[in-house]
Symmetry: C2
Subunit: 226 residues, 2 copies
């Protein structure tokens, strides 16, 4: 953690879990399977693991396919037979998350900076989510790692943020609620902010975040005025 | 799954979970924390995640350090304070696994082929485990990915197996109980065998194993005589 205000020229946000609450997925799962919390945790864990493994293996498929594969494997492991209707309903829930409550105010308070999204989500997933949440106009950039066929925390995924924004890496603040994502962004050279809504300990992955906030509306006060 | 016997010139085994049962870790954890099964599952999951994430981030540390970091983070997440004695006892358990019961017989039945280990474990971890289990003499090669500072399933880790053995990749059979490891090895171009002791479904990661066996002693009968 640094004590002086951070000087930056733009902000890139992770999407799922950082701007958008995926409670919608939990709700959809609860209509289909018993023990929905355990199922969603397993699905989410496989989604991430598959994205990392396929990047390491150089066998990229887009995040909609990752989500489908992870859902099928999680259902198989749990001994749950999903029909096509169930499967479609569960996958569609990723397109209808709500912003966390403080997000509209926080984005308004950050309007001095150009804002963007840098997400593992596929371009069509991101477009649908932003349209649904009426937040499209808030962002100068909506960037999917699909353009480089590598998921975060591969350096190529973060480098895309530099390429698209034209801002040097150390003047970009990368904001995520995922500890591993913040570590990857810091290793790449972004300034970083970890949104730790649940008060969990840091992961032990090396680089530490420059800023830690309990919710996004606490971020504007920590930045040097622009 | 292929129906004709597989023709190969050498066999490389994954170590932890494939040749060696890590029940020793479970037993050690049970002396230190409540709900040891949940703790070990979390520790193991973080161990793997950290190995993949650090490879993607190009921030390699060896597997003894990965294990320590994953242990500390898992304890912190569970709100458990470990003293140095606890920590040392838990980490030492990874050095004292037992071979699965069928391993000595299976290795004897496979003696027509040169055998090796290709493991994420650090060189000193592997040397200690093999010495403890009296299996050192069974293996022509004991290879740690530490030499390339990249964990499986990065292609560089499997390529080390080709470099050390001098055998072309498609004539090496890679044997692992980890679905993701088998998928990575198949993506690299090894012939593969998945040891599925617990009857779990395949992961949805693309390449499928050439062979699936419920235990290692079923492998020799599936290989073309040599």
């Amino acid at each position: 953690m640094t004590s002086a205000p951070i000087v930056i020229d733009g902000i890139l946000f992770d999407a799922y879990g950082t701007l958008f609450d995926v409670q919608s997925v939990q709700s959809a799962v609860a209509t289909v399977v018993p023990r929905p919390e355990e199922f969603v945790a397993g699905w989410r864990q496989r989604q991430l693991a598959y994205s990392w493994l396929r990047t390491l293996m150089d066998r990229y498929v887009d995040f909609a396919q990752i989500s489908t594969d992870a859902l099928n494997a999680t259902a198989a492991a749990a001994g749950i037979a999903l029909d096509d209707t169930d499967r479609a309903r569960l996958l569609a829930a990723w397109l209808r998350p709500s912003p966390f409550p403080e997000v509209p105010v926080a984005l308004a308070l950050l309007e001095s900076w150009p804002l963007g999204i840098l997400s593992n989500g596929s371009p069509s997933m991101l477009a649908t989510v932003l349209d649904h949440t009426n937040l499209t106009g808030r962002f100068a950039w909506v960037v999917s790692v699909d353009a480089v066929r590598a998921y975060k925390p591969a350096p190529a995924a973060y480098a895309l943020g530099v390429r698209v924004t034209g801002i040097s890496r150390e003047r970009i603040l990368f904001v995520s609620s995922n500890g591993w994502d913040v570590a990857g962004a810091a290793a790449f050279g972004f300034a970083t902010c970890w949104v730790n809504r649940s008060g969990t300990p840091l992961e032990e992955l090396g680089p530490q975040p420059d800023l830690i906030v309990p919710s996004l509306d606490r971020l504007p006060g920590l930045l040097a005025a622009r």
